[in-house]
């Protein structure tokens, strides 16, 4: 019996049919972005609040509205908890959503999360009624602390933002998945479709990516590839993979072959 029926992603009690969350940074044009978002099938997409004016016409927010995609504001570009909290509040006011992708980065060169500032900001935002989705390093302990702080999901990186290096520490991602009671969303570092499939096979509930699509030679084609990869990886996880073996094990039995041949 196949088990490929409805399998929504649930974050803070809200359901999403797609397990691919998109970012918008890096697209060469609004037209290309729109094609890519459409091809990805995404239902939730992040927008850097420091880089848009919510009242401007023709902006990325208009593109998302036209595509019927829910906006997830993020705090990209913030280096301190103070900046991130302020940015989240401005986003809530401007967009009327209390959801936020929380991003507090440590330095411009690696764009790695600053764990101390991140946890600090998460605590403040949860206390203020936000649904917080923190972009975090792949540290299982930090992921647990963020969950304990009341975050609605944890979003560990596969590798640094925009690097396309894939999932550098799959073991840590598995450890995070094993312990988490909130959705685990692999965020950052994915380069191509197999990276997204691997994230889902490791047990992540969703994947968040931007650069791998927006800076691909054909963004819409890569977006379609990512959509299929996320679906394939999720199905593989649900199906349950076979154990690995050292030696071969024939898929059809050898028994009876000799007598079968004799009849030819």
């Amino acid at each position: 019996m196949t088990d490929t029926g409805a399998d929504p992603l649930v974050i803070a009690g809200e359901e999403f049919g797609s397990r691919l969350i998109m970012g918008t940074g890096g697209a060469p044009s609004m037209h290309v972005l729109r094609e890519a978002l459409t091809a990805s099938g995404t239902e939730l997409t992040t927008v850097a609040m420091r880089r848009v004016d919510p009242s401007a016409r023709g902006s990325v927010l208009d593109v998302l509205a036209a595509c019927g995609i829910r906006v997830l504001p993020n705090t990209a570009g913030c280096f301190t908890a103070g900046e991130a909290v302020l940015t989240a509040k401005l986003a809530r006011e401007a967009l009327g959503t209390n959801w936020v992708k929380l991003e507090v980065i440590a330095d411009e060169h690696t764009l790695l999360p600053d764990p101390v500032e991140l946890l600090d900001a998460a605590e403040q935002l949860v206390a203020d009624g936000f649904v917080v989705l923190p972009y975090t390093s792949d540290d299982p302990v930090l992921a647990r602390r963020l969950e304990q702080a009341g975050c609605a999901a944890v979003m560990p990186l596969g590798s640094p933002i925009g690097s396309g290096l894939g999932i550098r520490n799959p073991h840590n991602i598995e450890l995070i998945v094993e312990r988490a009671d909130v959705p685990v969303i692999l965020d950052a570092g994915l380069g191509t479709a197999s990276d997204a499939a691997l994230a889902m096979e490791l047990g992540c509930d969703a994947v968040l990516l931007a650069t791998a699509v927006t800076r691909a030679q054909s963004p819409a084609t890569m977006a379609a590839a990512m959509r299929h990869a996320v679906e394939a990886g999720r199905l593989a996880r649900r199906a349950g993979r076979i154990p690995m073996r050292r030696y071969a094990q024939a898929s059809s039995p050898f028994e009876g072959l000799a007598s079968g041949r004799a009849n030819l």
Binding site: P28, S29, V32, A56, R57, S59, D62, H109, S218
Partner: protein, 380 residues
Amino acid sequence: MDIAIIGAGAIGLATAWKAAEGGAAVTLIDPAPGSGATHVAAGMLTPVSELTYGEEPLLRLGLASRERYPSFVAELEELTGLGTGRRTDGILLVAFDSDDLRYVDDLRRFQESLGIPSEALTGREARRLEPMLAPGVRGGLLAPEDGSIDPRRLTAALLAATERTGVRLVRRRAAGIVVERDAAAGVRLDDGTEVRADRVLLAAGPWSGDLDGLPPGTVPSVRPVKGQVIRLRTRAPFLGRTVRGLVKGSHVYLVPRADGEIVVGATQEELGFDTRVTAGGLWELLRDARELLPGITELDFAEVTAGLRPGSPDNAPMMGATGLPGLLLGTGHFRNGILLTPVSADILSALLLDRPVPDIAAAFTPDRFTADRFTAEVSQ
């Protein structure tokens, strides 16, 4: 034929000149000619180093315009006696670190696949061309046929050319389009008076959608994309040609002029009609410029400006008829307005005068966004 043109940036000015030269009675409407993106622009003439995947039609338009530039500038100088500071000494694209070099190599392969000549250089070779470059630069690409122009001198010359050819300049803001019998019949000014015209060209950059009287959907989305630009001055020779740099993934360019000005740009910000100059914008430009050319800190600061590029959904200009008969659109030139000025003036003046339009214009009509052909292809 009476023609009204709204917007006296580079595109509006050049089209007004060419349409008047072609025999039309042209009225050009702008409260402050040449004060928008044209005033801020650095004036790189570089279809080659701006090449982006999926934007090959735009490359071809840029190449056509670059080829048109020598005769365009010669006509302009002959008519007005004014120079434009055009340079044809090539543009050097340099990569700061190994990641940047991978991007530059990819760009070179893409250029090669399209038959565009560009020359790969090692870091040493790049520094031989431009000795002020930081010792660590990893390599680069020379686009030998690219160059630059001074948009402010170009504007002054175009303004003089419109005067010489009898264009009437109305220094007022256009408030609306006069529509009669479902067709454009002129322009209503902010003082309530009207400029009657058989044809109206809307070349008002990011403000092109803001006029009263436009039926909904007449003008496709043109959005403002802010750019902050710094102007420095040098007393000693500093740069021999325009240098574009990719510095840890971010872009910066430096455009030198014969009089010692060096233009450093530009940020690209989606912040609506906001022209504030910000600490962060200046810092990012100077940070990257200094990584690339450490000696930059010794130069004199001259000016900082912020302007609004007219961005179309696919970064390419929208030139041609709109849903309203008699109203034409000539905007959406985004980062390439100065480069595309000659070819746009040829296309738009031909459209206005009912003359044969260059074939290349077919890919840039405003109605191309109505059919989402790309999306249909991918979803199959």
